[in-house]
C-alpha cells in the first residue's frame, strides 16, 4: 500500500498475441513531477521529493523575485526562524526536506521540485509542536498515521491558504475540519510525549 502509493503506476499492457500461448506484459513506471502550487500570502508546504540540492536559494531560484520570506519551526525553541532574501544574514540557508516550511508569496506561482523518490520513512516527533514533512504523493488518514501513537497525539494543524489561518484537528473533537493529510501540504503536529510515526 505504501509503496504502491509512492509512484503513479501506468500499466501499458501489450496484449498477448492471440495465437501464442504466452504473452508479454510490459510495465512502465513513470514518476509524477513534484510541482507545488503556492497562493498569494503564506503557504505551509512540504516537499514531495528528497531534494537533490538543499540550498534554499537554488531551490527557489525559479521564483526568486516572487517570495518574501521562508519560515521554519524550531522544535527546540518552539518558535519560528525566518529567512529573508534581502537580509545579509539568515538563521538558515538550506532546506531540510524532512520538515514543513512556511513561505510568503507575492503572487500565485508554481514551483517545480527536482529530486529523488523518498523511501518509506519514520518521523520522530518530540513533545510539543513539530512540523514533519509528508513527502508522498498520496493522501493518508490522520487516524491511520497516529494509530500507534494515539495516546500521545493531541493536535494536527494544516494551513488554510485562502483564509490564511490554521485548521486544527483534535483527537477530542468529533467535528474536525479535515481527516486526511495530503501530498505537498505542510503540517504542525502536537504530541503530548515523544513518539515515532511511520508513513
Amino acid at each position: 500500500m505504501k509503496k504502491a502509493g509512492i509512484i503513479l503506476m501506468v500499466f501499458v499492457i501489450i496484449f498477448p498475441i492471440a495465437t501464442a500461448d504466452t504473452g508479454q506484459i510490459e510495465v512502465n513506471i513513470f514518476q509524477e513531477d513534484c510541482i507545488i502550487d503556492f497562493q498569494e500570502g503564506w503557504n505551509l508546504f512540504s516537499f514531495c521529493k528528497n531534494l537533490n540540492d538543499n540550498n534554499l536559494a537554488n531551490v527557489l531560484s525559479s521564483i526568486s523575485d516572487k517570495y518574501r520570506y521562508v519560515m521554519v519551526w524550531d522544535e527546540t525553541q518552539q518558535s519560528f526562524e525566518i529567512y529573508s532574501p534581502r537580509a545579509s544574514q539568515n538563521p538558515f540557508t538550506t532546506f531540510n526536506d524532512n520538515y514543513s516550511y512556511f513561505i510568503y508569496m507575492y503572487e500565485q506561482v508554481t514551483l517545480d521540485i527536482s529530486g529523488s523518490i523518498p523511501p518509506t520513512e519514520q518521523r520522530n516527533l518530540p513533545e510539543g509542536w513539530t512540523t514533519p514533512a509528508y513527502q508522498y504523493d498520496f493522501s493518508t488518514a490522520v487516524a491511520d498515521i497516529f494509530q500507534n501513537t494515539w495516546v500521545n497525539f493531541r493536535y494536527i494543524m494544516k494551513w488554510d491558504n485562502i483564509n490564511q489561518e490554521f485548521q486544527i484537528y483534535s483527537k477530542s473533537s468529533s467535528n474536525n475540519p479535515f481527516t486526511q493529510i495530503n501530498s505537498k501540504e505542510g503540517r504542525f503536529i502536537y504530541m503530548y510525549d515523544s513518539s515515532t510515526i511511520d508513513y
Binding site: 503564506w42 518552539q78 513533545e127 509542536w129 493531541r154 493536535y155
Partner: protein
C-alpha cells in the same frame, strides 16, 4: 513580522542616503527624516497584506451547573494582554468540546474563555481563565450558569439623616438553587442575606455626601448583576443671624442684640459672639445668647459680629453678621435749644439731647524717607455743626489746618497730609490733633508718628528742585557744543592761524630764553 519588515526598509533607506555623497550632513538628515516620515505614513495608511501566523491553541469543555456538557454554546477565547491575534470564536460540539487555533498566545500566557447559551430559562453564561503551557496550548473548561433574577430596590430618597433603612425584594432562583443576597453600601459589604423575599437593612453613621448601594442575588454558581441606587445625605449651613445695628455712642454699657440664624435642616444650633476695638484682637463668646452687655470706653471704633453654628451634624457655621459703631468719650455739652423742660408725674427736670461727636483717626504708624505723613480722619456728630477746624500740633511735621464749613449727613472723612519741617531722625514723635468748633476746642487726640528712616527734605521741595538742576546742565552742554563748533569754523576759515599761533609761541619762548 511587521517589525522585521520595518527594519529591512530602514536599512534600505540608509543605503540610499549613503550613496548621495554630495549632500551635506544636514541635508542628509533632512532627507532621512522625510523618508522616515513617508515610511511610517506608508506603514500606517497601506494595510499590510501579510497575515500573521500564530500557533497558540485552546481547548476544553463547556458544562452547565447540573454538570452536563453543553453543546452549541458560543465560545469566545481571548488572550490577555494581547494586541493582535487575540480572540477566536467557536461553537462547542455535541460533546461540549471546543478547540481553537491561530491564537497569539505566548508560553505561560493567560487566556480567558467565555461561553454562553440561550436556554429555555434564559441566557446561561460563564467564563474561566487558563494558562498556556510551554507549547502555547491552554486547556480551559467553563461552567455556564443561569443567574438568579435581579432583586428590585426601593429607591432611597435624599435625606439629612445620617441613618437610612434600605429596602429591596429578591426572587427565587429559576433552577431552584438556594440563594442569598449580597448588599454593598459604598465600599462596605454587609452580611449575606439568605432566601428570597422582602428585606431591609439599617445603615447608620452615613456621612454627609452621596452614597451608592447595590444588591445582587447569588447562588453557589453565579450571581445576578448588581442593582444600584444612589442617594444623598445633605446638610446646609445655618443662615446668618440678624444683628440689631448699634448706633454710635459715648462710653457706656451697650446691649448687643440679634436674632439667631435659622437652620433649614432643623439642626440644633448655638451662636458665637465676638467684638473688638478695631485692629485689636477679637473677644469671643461661644453659646452666646442675645442680648450681651459690654462696656465701651475711650474713643474707639468697635466692631461686633455674630454667627450661628450647628451643635451636631457637621458643626457648620453661618457667615458672620457684622456691625460697627463709634464710642467716644466727649463731655456732654451744655444743653442746647433741644433741651427742654420735662413735666408730668415724674416731677420737674431737664431733658437734654447732647451733641455727640466722634472722631476716629487712623494714624499712619510709620513714615519712610521722602514721604508725607497721612492722617485719615473720620468725624461724626449727632448735632449740627458748622465752622469746624482740625489742627495738628507737631514739632516735626507741618500739617495745614483743615476747615470744614458744612457737614454732609453730619459726617466727614478726609486726609491730613503732614510734611517734615526739616531733618527728622528716626524715632517716635508725639503730636496732637485738635478739633475746634468755632473757637472752642472740643476734641484733643494724642498721637505718635514713628519715623523709620531719616527725613531730610520736604517732598515737594525735592520735586521742584530737580528740574532746575537738569536745565542748568543742559544749558552748559549747549554752550560747550557751540564753542566747539565756533572753534572748528574759525580754524577752517584761516588755516595759517595755527602757524601764526605757533610762531607767536616760539617768539615768546625765545624772548624768555
Amino acid at each position: 513580522m511587521i517589525l522585521q519588515q520595518s527594519t529591512i526598509k530602514m536599512n534600505l533607506l540608509n543605503k540610499i542616503i549613503q550613496k548621495a555623497s554630495p549632500l551635506s550632513k544636514k541635508e542628509k538628515s533632512q532627507i532621512f527624516l522625510t523618508l522616515l516620515l513617508i515610511h511610517f505614513l506608508i506603514l500606517i495608511l497601506i494595510p499590510s497584506t501579510s497575515a500573521d501566523v500564530y500557533v497558540g491553541t485552546t481547548e476544553g469543555y463547556i458544562y452547565n451547573t447540573e454538570g452536563q456538557v453543553v453543546d452549541a454554546s458560543d465560545v469566545t477565547v481571548t488572550v490577555n494582554q494581547c494586541i493582535v491575534g487575540c480572540t477566536q470564536s467557536i461553537v462547542s460540539e455535541n460533546s461540549g468540546y471546543y478547540v481553537t487555533a491561530n491564537l497569539n498566545l505566548p508560553k505561560q500566557g493567560v487566556v480567558t474563555v467565555y461561553a454562553q447559551k440561550m436556554t429555555a430559562l434564559g441566557l446561561e453564561f460563564g467564563q474561566a481563565n487558563g494558562i498556556a503551557n510551554d507549547y502555547q496550548a491552554a486547556n480551559v473548561n467553563v461552567v455556564i450558569c443561569l443567574p438568579a433574577p435581579q432583586p428590585s430596590l426601593v429607591q432611597e430618597p435624599n435625606t439629612h439623616d445620617t441613618f437610612a433603612t434600605l429596602e429591596w425584594a429578591s426572587s427565587a432562583d429559576l433552577k431552584g438553587y438556594a440563594t442569598w443576597d449580597e448588599v454593598r453600601v459604598d465600599s462596605t459589604n454587609y452580611p449575606k442575606n439568605n432566601n428570597p423575599g422582602s428585606k431591609s437593612l439599617d445603615i447608620t453613621g452615613l456621612s454627609f455626601s452621596s452614597h451608592t448601594w447595590r444588591v445582587r442575588t447569588c447562588t453557589n454558581f453565579c450571581c445576578s448583576s448588581w442593582v444600584t441606587d444612589t442617594f444623598n445625605v445633605g446638610n446646609t449651613r445655618p443662615n446668618p443671624p440678624t444683628p440689631t445695628p448699634q448706633l454710635d455712642t459715648i462710653p457706656t454699657t451697650i446691649d448687643f442684640t440679634w436674632i439667631s440664624g435659622a437652620d433649614e435642616d432643623f439642626d440644633e444650633t448655638f451662636d458665637e459672639f465676638e467684638y473688638h476695638i478695631i485692629e485689636d484682637n477679637w473677644e469671643s463668646t461661644t453659646n452666646a445668647i442675645s442680648p450681651i452687655s459690654k462696656e465701651v470706653f475711650g474713643c474707639n471704633y468697635y466692631e461686633w459680629r455674630v454667627r450661628t453654628c450647628e451643635k451636631e451634624s457637621e458643626q457648620l457655621c453661618s457667615s458672620w453678621a457684622t456691625d460697627g459703631f463709634i464710642a467716644c468719650g466727649i463731655q456732654c455739652p451744655a444743653c442746647t435749644s433741644n433741651c427742654g423742660s420735662g413735666g408730668g408725674d415724674g416731677g420737674g427736670g431737664t431733658t437734654c439731647t447732647a451733641k455727640t461727636k466722634t472722631l476716629v483717626v487712623t494714624n499712619q504708624l510709620t513714615t519712610e524717607q521722602e514721604e508725607a505723613h497721612k492722617l485719615l480722619i473720620s468725624f461724626a456728630t449727632s448735632g449740627t455743626s458748622d465752622n469746624i477746624w482740625f489742627k495738628v500740633n507737631s514739632s516735626e511735621f507741618d500739617f495745614s489746618d483743615y476747615p470744614i464749613t458744612s457737614l454732609i449727613d453730619s459726617k466727614a472723612k478726609f486726609e491730613l497730609i503732614g510734611k517734615p519741617k526739616g531733618k527728622v531722625p528716626p524715632g517716635e514723635y508725639n503730636f496732637t490733633l485738635d478739633v475746634f468748633e468755632g473757637n472752642k476746642k472740643t476734641i484733643e487726640e494724642q498721637m505718635t508718628i514713628k519715623v523709620k528712616k531719616p527725613l531730610l527734605i520736604n517732598v515737594k521741595r525735592i520735586a521742584q528742585e530737580m528740574p532746575k538742576r537738569k536745565s542748568w546742565w543742559i544749558y552748559s552742554l549747549i554752550v560747550i557744543i557751540i564753542l566747539i563748533i565756533l572753534y572748528i569754523y574759525l580754524k577752517n576759515r584761516n588755516p595759517s592761524m595755527n602757524q601764526k599761533i605757533k610762531g607767536k609761541v616760539k617768539n615768546t619762548l625765545k624772548k624768555k630764553i
